[in-house]
């Protein structure tokens, strides 16, 4: 089992402070003045050279946001965020020109190299031969480069940064932006709509199967900045796209805010597969620092037989508040949610999904694996609902939690709402610890305790791991090993 060996290897290599992406890139940046008001919104819009309609949309969002209050229902505790103490825009100085690989500052290239993300088009993801992935690299508030654009354009796939899409494809952006997560959807989505800086835009035309994996890599670098990216993916009739998202940040003593919005739209017979490996800086072993991750992700299965599949691996962030959801509007549409949430140290995760069945015979599946260690709190919160007219709906939910150590907590809060009799809903959840029997068995065969735990945990999350694209699977197995390091004994 090479994966397990890798895990052990990884665990060995790493010291007490496990986060390996915590370095900072020294690069000159342009920042917006500190604080938040309409002028800042105008500033961001102007920096990005946006048309008037976009500025209006942002201002409208900002005004709505002023009237909203911070949600407090989640099972997380954090100091009050002073939204006036943040920078809402930061961009490396060198990237304001035209975007081709040659123009990208060498510091940035080195940063991504160090993160194991190849921005060279002939490059491949570390460790996986032959796999080609188009990458949109977002550094603080701007997209620095998008690779394989030309090749994708040949088949009609639009893959670019959000700023570019607003300039180049306003008709698509106007039509779809905010149609899944409206401006006033929730507090953090409202904030994002006002100040979002960049993100990825994908449009896959009718009948096209996207020839390669698309990927965005988010990096927060600057101090005291929030990152607010917005991603919009549209899969037109009969198309298919697989999209990966990764993220890291430097180690800092302060907490940084990340409030993203992701909107997915699948039309008739289309399929979107969205995978995330979230590895923001989780804070140090005493719970100091780390990213506050308040994210709104939602997919809309608008067409018949459409399918949206979310796969997430959550290992980073001090606070995670994230519920990738599916609105199953189309007949026979399908939503899937596969999640591994690993918390250690003083991390707090409140994550889950919503499956809202509106279309007839729509179906959904939720597999959630939570692993809590150290002093962390790990909550699964999910909603499955069937509308009165949505007949023949099916859902299967399975949430398992694993506790490692007696100072952590694992919680399950599912909401199940069947508003008609033909809905078949099944929900099951279990919580347990690694059984002594299993551990003993492994140790007896000569595995060290840490290796044994890593092995058992990898087995525990296997159902979800298998749903990840190949490129991510290896990395994730390593990540899980890393995140749990120090939790044994």
């Amino acid at each position: 089992m090479p994966a397990v060996e890798e895990t052990i290897e990884q665990v060995k290599k790493i010291d007490v402070d496990q986060y390996k992406y915590g370095f900072e890139t020294k690069i000159e940046t342009v920042k917006a003045p500190k604080g938040l008001n309409e002028d800042i919104v105008r500033f961001i819009s102007e920096k990005k050279g946006e048309p008037a309609w976009m500025l209006e949309w942002r201002l409208e969002s900002f005004r709505r946001w002023l009237g909203m209050i911070e949600p407090t229902w989640a099972n997380i505790k954090y100091p009050k965020i002073d939204f006036n103490e943040l920078y809402y825009y930061a961009a490396p100085k060198s990237t304001e020109g035209p975007k081709s690989l040659e123009d990208v500052a060498p510091e940035l290239l080195a940063t991504y190299e160090k993160l194991g993300i190849s921005l060279k088009e002939q490059g491949v993801l570390a460790g996986v031969q032959g796999a080609r992935v188009a990458v949109d690299a977002v550094f603080d508030s701007v997209s620095v480069v998008t690779t394989f654009k030309d090749e994708l354009a040949k088949v009609g796939v639009i893959f670019c940064s959000m700023s570019e899409a607003i300039r180049e494809h306003p008709e698509l952006v106007k039509k779809y932006l905010g149609s899944v997560v409206p401006q006033g959807d929730n507090f953090y989505a409202g904030l994002n709509a006002a100040v979002f800086s960049d993100g990825s835009f994908v449009y896959v035309p009718e009948g096209v199967r996207c020839p390669m994996e698309l990927s965005t890599y988010f990096r927060i670098n600057e101090e005291k900045t929030g990152q607010f990216e917005r991603t919009l993916i549209i899969a037109d009739k009969g198309s298919y796209v697989s999209y990966l998202e990764g993220c890291t940040a430097p180690m800092r003593d302060e907490n940084q805010l990340h409030a993203a919005v992701v909107e997915l739209i699948a039309l008739d017979d289309a399929e979107i597969k969205y995978s995330t490996v979230q590895n923001w800086y989780p804070g140090d072993k005493d719970g100091k620092g780390g990213i506050f991750n308040f994210v709104t992700k939602r997919g809309d299965c608008r067409g018949k037989n459409s399918k949206i599949s979310w796969t997430q691996v959550e290992t980073g962030s001090a606070i995670t508040w994230k519920y990738p959801s599916c609105i199953l509007r189309g007949e026979n549409s399908r939503g899937e949610f596969y999640s591994i949430a690993v918390s250690n140290g003083y991390q707090q995760i409140d994550s889950g999904t919503k499956m809202i069945h509106l279309g007839k015979n729509s179906s959904s599946r939720i597999i959630s694996k939570g692993i809590a260690a150290g002093f962390s709190q790990n909550t699964y919160r999910g909603l499955v609902s069937a509308h009165r007219k949505a007949t023949g709906v099916r859902n299967f939910t399975n949430c398992d939690s694993l506790l490692i150590g007696d100072k952590c907590g694992a919680h399950t809060v599912p909401y199940i709402e069947a508003k008609n009799a033909t809905a078949h809903f099944e929900h099951e959840a279990t919580t347990s610890k690694i059984s002594d029997g299993q551990l003993f068995y492994c140790r007896q065969r000569g595995l060290s305790e840490e290796a044994a735990v890593a092995l058992i945990v990898n087995g525990f999350v296997r159902d979800v791991l298998q749903k990840l694209p190949m490129e991510f699977m290896a990395e994730t197995q390593k990540l899980i090993g890393i995140s749990l390091e120090g939790s044994v004994g």
């Binding site: 919680h411 599912p414 199940i416 078949h424 929900h427 959840a429 919580t431 347990s432």
Partner: protein, 483 residues
């Protein structure tokens, strides 16, 4: 992670208690960036006002001395601050009392309606066959003539009205860390009568103790019952609560019932509740159970009555190695709304809990199940399993379920499950292929579905009576329904 059971409004509302009940102006906070605080006008509904005002009007008539009066005043103050729960209150998300309660009926002070033993038997139906010691309350007041129990050495039963005049009576009205529940607060404020039962250590009762709450008269009224039961160490008891309506009596009415039960170390208790009364009435009830070490508690709730019903069950493990098995069945039809909300709090190690609830929803019936299992830090070796299964027989039925786990200890095994579906067509086909008519096959399948829960009742006579009640319900449904 607070010790109190979080059925209810939660700590935010408790903080509001510092504000007086009268001035409920929302506390405006200065928000960064000059943002407007959400201007939610906290206006009291007519019903909330009436509940507070009526209390002042009848306060002199409540049993108990000055001490009890203080507790009642505090309780109505809490209610005033909390108000009726609405769907924005997490624990009441699916049962919006503020919206559902449109009026307050006059409080019954127990004016003696002429009720005879045979009336009561008729109202009890199959339950009449259980040979039990009865304590009867008619319209919320103790009825000595119909009760068949005296005080013996093993069992001591008094009416709450009487017990409240004794010293230390205020404990009978206390809520013990459940101050955030408006329904319980109302109960403490308004409690007119109920049973105060004390079972001696090591007492083994052959016959069940039946607390019977009868609705009589043609005028619907508001009744408030509060039972306080303490079960001595090593005792073995079966306790039955039944809520029934006399034939010909008003089908309306509002009921607020609470039973506090503390189970001594090593005691074994079977606790059954049967709510089959007033189809148009409202029934809000609480069970508060404290468990001693090595205690065994088997609870069962049979519900087929009332238009709007909520049973809250709070179980707290106070001693190690205790075990509970709580189950129930809710049969819902017409436009009934039946809510079962359960909080099991494992505060100590080595506790075992089992819950199984089965529901059948007909017509536009709505079922709600909320079950929360908490494992406190240090409550290692907890074993908890919860299951709710619902059959939806009509396209217009609705079922909302929220099974929750909140776990702060690692060496535990906990799980829950929740399913809802129609009757399995294949099973139906199987029966029909063996020559069983469709209506009968349906009834058979539903009966066996409910049966799994009813089986949990250990006493034969009680189990049989409940099974018969279920059959009657099915027959009534069948007669008005498609075949």
């Amino acid at each position: 992670m607070e010790g109190r059971l979080p059925i209810g409004v939660g700590s935010e509302a408790l903080n509001d208690l510092s504000r007086s009940a009268e001035s409920r102006a929302p506390a405006r906070q200065d928000v960064a960036l000059g943002r407007r605080a959400m201007n939610v006008a906290v206006l009291k509904t007519k019903v909330e006002q009436a509940l507070t005002e009526n209390f002042a009007a009848v306060e002199d008539q409540f049993p108990g001395g000055a001490e009890a009066r203080k507790v009642r005043d505090a309780a109505i103050g809490r209610f005033g601050a909390l108000g009726l729960p609405n769907r924005r209150v997490e624990a009441w998300k699916y049962t919006d009392l503020r919206n559902a309660l449109k009026e307050v009926l006059p409080l019954s002070t127990g004016d003696k309606a002429p009720v005879t033993g045979s009336d009561v038997s008729a109202a009890l139906g199959p339950l009449a066959g259980i040979d039990a010691q009865q304590v009867v309350f008619v319209n919320g007041a103790y009825c000595e003539d119909l009760s068949t129990i005296g005080s013996g050495s093993a069992v001591d039963v008094r009416s709450l009205a009487e017990a409240l005049s004794l010293p230390e009576a205020t404990a009978l009205l206390s809520a013990e860390g459940r101050d955030d529940d408006p329904v319980l607060a109302l109960n403490a404020a308004y409690a007119t009568d109920g049973a105060v039962v004390h079972i001696a250590d090591e007492a083994k009762l052959d016959k069940p103790l039946l607390l019977l709450f009868v609705r009589a008269g043609t005028e619907p009224c508001f009744t408030v019952a509060r039972n306080v039961v303490s079960i001595g160490k090593g005792a073995d008891v079966t306790l039955i609560e039944a809520f029934v309506t006399l034939p010909g009596a008003s089908q309306g009415g509002q009921e607020n019932a609470a039973t506090k039960i503390s189970v001594g170390d090593g005691a074994s208790v079977a606790h059954v509740k049967c709510t089959i009364d007033a189809l148009n009435g409202t029934h809000l009830a609480n069970w508060l159970v404290d468990l001693g070490a090595h205690a065994t508690y088997n609870g069962f709730q049979f519900t087929s009555g009332c238009k709007l019903l909520r049973n809250q069950i709070g179980v707290a493990f106070k001693g190690e190695n205790a075990q509970i098995d709580i189950s129930g069945t809710f049969l819902v039809r017409g436009s009934q709304h039946v809510d079962t909300t359960l909080v099991v709090d494992h505060a100590v190690p080595h506790g075992t809990s089992r819950e199984l609830f089965k529901g059948v929803l007909e017509d536009q019936g709505r079922g709600v199940f909320q079950g929360k299992v908490i494992v406190q830090p240090g409550a290692q070796k907890t074993d908890g399993m919860q299951m709710v299964r619902v059959l939806m027989l009509s396209p217009d039925a609705e079922f909302d379920s929220k099974p929750e786990l909140e776990i702060y200890a690692d060496d535990v095994v906990c799980g829950h499950g929740s399913t809802s579906a129609e009757l399995d067509e294949d099973l139906l086909f199987y029966c029909r292929s063996r020559g069983i008519p469709k209506a009968q096959a349906r009834a058979l399948l539903i009966e066996s579905f409910i049966g799994e829960a009813i089986e949990k009742v250990e006493r034969d006579d009680v189990r049989e009576a409940l099974a018969e009640l279920a059959r009657q319900w099915l027959a009534e449904c069948g007669s008005t329904k498609r075949t």
